[in-house]
């Protein structure tokens, strides 16, 4: 079997699984997985393809969740507008933070994005209209396109699923486009990409903004699904969690982050009542991934498939 055929097979499996999901598992759980899978995929565009480790992606997810919450709950706007507003604010934040952060590279980039995320966190804690420690509760789901009431979990699921597929498709289009190849060239050898005449800063910023926008979309959807926005969405634990999802699933693979999101959300669901042990286990998985498992699950599977079906170097 050839590589494109395998990819199509994986796609078909994913779409079918997504369609059947609300009948297989608890729909709210499935929606939560979709939102975080989109978030991790958007994050992976930056880490896996441009080689930029952002340690502050919670800022985009969380800010969008809060903006969506405010537009839907306080202003009573339609659901689509709320989601759009959240995504737009995340995009804008991405533009500002990205423009500043790409002025430094490597490990400083991670520290700068972490700093900006802390800035957003403290703003959310202190601003009068974010509900402080309580967050925003009781966000109405409203109607999709003014017609379809999103009160049932299954209807809401398909609304989120369509949005997820659109975002996911955009990400994988970007990855396989000439733009995505330039990003990989920058990741592998930045001075060389520069000497070939590519405006490296421009490409990095574009990748950052795209990643922030789609993280924002994920955050907005999450606010609609769970009907609340809370401080945990802007906390640095969330930024670390998305790194873990991507690392565990396989960074630099299209499907990896979604697999990672599914595993991490499942893990957190099952460990919800053991208190701080979740943090300990998350940390241990982190350490294990970094030491022994850097390709992640999908990366390992891909290497295995390439060895056994296609031959040649993994």
């Amino acid at each position: 079997m050839s590589a494109p055929a395998l990819r199509r097979l994986a796609w078909a499996a994913m779409v079918l699984l997504g369609l059947a999901a609300p009948y297989l598992v608890y729909p709210v759980f499935a929606m939560n997985v979709l939102c975080l899978a989109l978030f991790a995929s958007a994050f992976n565009l930056l880490l896996g393809y441009a080689g930029l480790l952002s340690f502050g992606h919670a800022a985009f997810l969380g800010a969008a969740a809060y903006v969506t919450g405010i537009t839907l709950r306080t202003w009573g706007l339609p659901t689509e507008l709320g989601v759009l507003a959240g995504t737009a604010v995340a995009t804008l934040l991405g533009l500002v933070f990205g423009a500043l952060a790409i002025r430094r590279s490597g490990i400083y980039f991670a520290m700068i994005t972490l700093g900006f995320a802390q800035l957003v966190y403290f703003l959310v804690v202190q601003l009068p209209w974010t509900g402080g420690e309580d967050g925003l509760q009781g966000i109405p789901r409203g109607k999709a396109l003014g017609l379809l009431a999103l009160d049932g979990p299954v209807t809401t699921y398909y609304f989120v699923y369509v949005a997820f597929l659109a975002g996911f498709w955009l990400i994988q289009r970007a990855i396989h486009s000439p733009f995505g190849h330039v990003l990989r060239a920058i990741r592998e050898n930045e001075p060389r990409a520069l000497s070939l005449g590519y405006d490296v800063a421009h490409y990095k910023l574009l990748a950052f903004v795209l990643s922030a926008a789609l993280s924002g979309l994920a955050g907005s959807l999450k606010a609609v699904v769970l009907q609340f926005a809370s401080l945990s969405d802007v906390h640095w634990h969330r930024s670390g969690e998305v790194v873990l999802m991507t690392l565990l699933g396989g960074m630099g693979t299209v499907l990896g982050p979604s697999v990672g999101a599914l595993l991490v959300v499942t893990l957190e669901n099952y460990l919800a009542d053991v208190g701080s042990w979740v943090t300990v286990i998350t940390g241990a998985v982190f350490v294990a991934c970094v030491l022994a498992f850097r390709r992640g699950i999908v990366g390992e599977v891909r290497a295995l498939v390439r060895r056994s079906f296609i031959g040649g170097k993994p």
């Binding site: 430094r104 490597g106 520290m111 700068i112 900006f116 690392l247 042990w277 300990v280 241990a284």
Partner: protein, 287 residues
């Protein structure tokens, strides 16, 4: 006036800790090329170790100031030997991720054992009380913190810039392979350097125990600010990280006096401004 000086003093105290921690980060990063995210957790463990030594073993403050950094230094040696060593030669983001994982483990364990609320560590008897300077009241312990951290930072600067060991360290920072070719045991230097950095963080933790509440999360809230300090100052020079640390502490103190709401974000705003004006950091060089 009293309030202003009071806030500036608090700022100076915080700044002393920023300086101590960013110094350790810079030393570790310089040689090992690893951003030690666990630095905050190691500081927290230092504070907890001092508190546990006092509570369970009856070991006093001054002994803790000596023993805790030594013990934590050994922990650091073990971490370097068993874990970090496997990542050299890889992209340096893996070092950051590994130490991030270690941070989660340490914080989770302490949180499980001691919960969210803090424990208080008494100010040692010899350093209690204060002096009235006329324009403000100066608690002796606070003056002690500032003086000791400046002394420790200066001593570290002296060792690194003026001694043979420091010359090896600087040579290793520039080019470890060449240094090894000259017959210096570079892997051992890596181990010792990491151990020293961790000991420095634990030392700061013991110093901090009587000032702040000892809580499992005291380290991570601090390390975020220290990262911003490192971005502002750049990790290029030791003196730079000391000045930046103290300076940012003072800026925070001033903000707390003028506009308290902004005091927790001002450091990140300064970071953004520095990136805008001098992307390499105040004392840094682009690398």
């Amino acid at each position: 006036m009293q309030a202003l000086f009071g806030q500036l003093l608090v700022g100076l105290i915080n700044g002393s800790f920023y300086a101590l921690l960013s110094l350790g980060l810079a030393i570790i990063f310089g040689l090992l090329n690893v951003v030690n995210f666990a630095h905050g957790a190691q500081y927290m463990m230092g504070a907890f170790a001092a508190w546990m030594a006092a509570t369970y073993l009856g070991i006093g403050y001054f002994w803790a100031l000596l023993l805790v950094p030594a013990a934590m230094g050994l922990v650091g040696v073990a971490v370097e030997r068993l874990l970090l060593r496997r990542l050299y030669g890889l992209d340096n983001l893996y070092g950051l991720l590994l130490t991030f994982g270690l941070t989660l483990i340490a914080e989770g364990l302490f949180h499980q054992a001691y919960g969210n609320s803090g424990s208080t560590y008494p100010v040692p008897a010899a350093l209690r009380g204060g002096v009235n300077l006329g324009f403000m009241y100066l608690p002796i312990y606070r003056a002690w913190v500032v003086v000791v951290s400046v002394v420790v930072c200066t001593a570290s600067w002296f060792v690194i810039e003026r001694t043979k060991l420091g010359a090896y360290l600087r040579a290793g920072t520039e080019n470890p392979r060449l240094l090894q070719a000259f017959g210096v045991n570079v892997p051992l230097m890596f181990t010792i350097t990491y151990g020293f950095g961790v000991a420095l963080a634990a030392f700061a933790g013991v110093m901090a125990a009587p000032v702040y509440q000892v809580t499992p999360l005291m380290g991570s809230s601090l390390i975020m600010v220290v990262f911003a300090v490192v971005v502002i100052g750049g990790m290029g020079s030791i003196a730079g990280s000391i000045f930046t640390g103290l300076g940012i502490g003072l800026v925070e103190g001033l903000t707390r006096y003028l506009y308290p709401e902004a005091s927790s974000v001002v450091v990140f705003v300064v970071m953004a401004l520095v990136l805008l004006v001098r992307p390499a950091g105040l004392f840094g060089r682009q690398r």
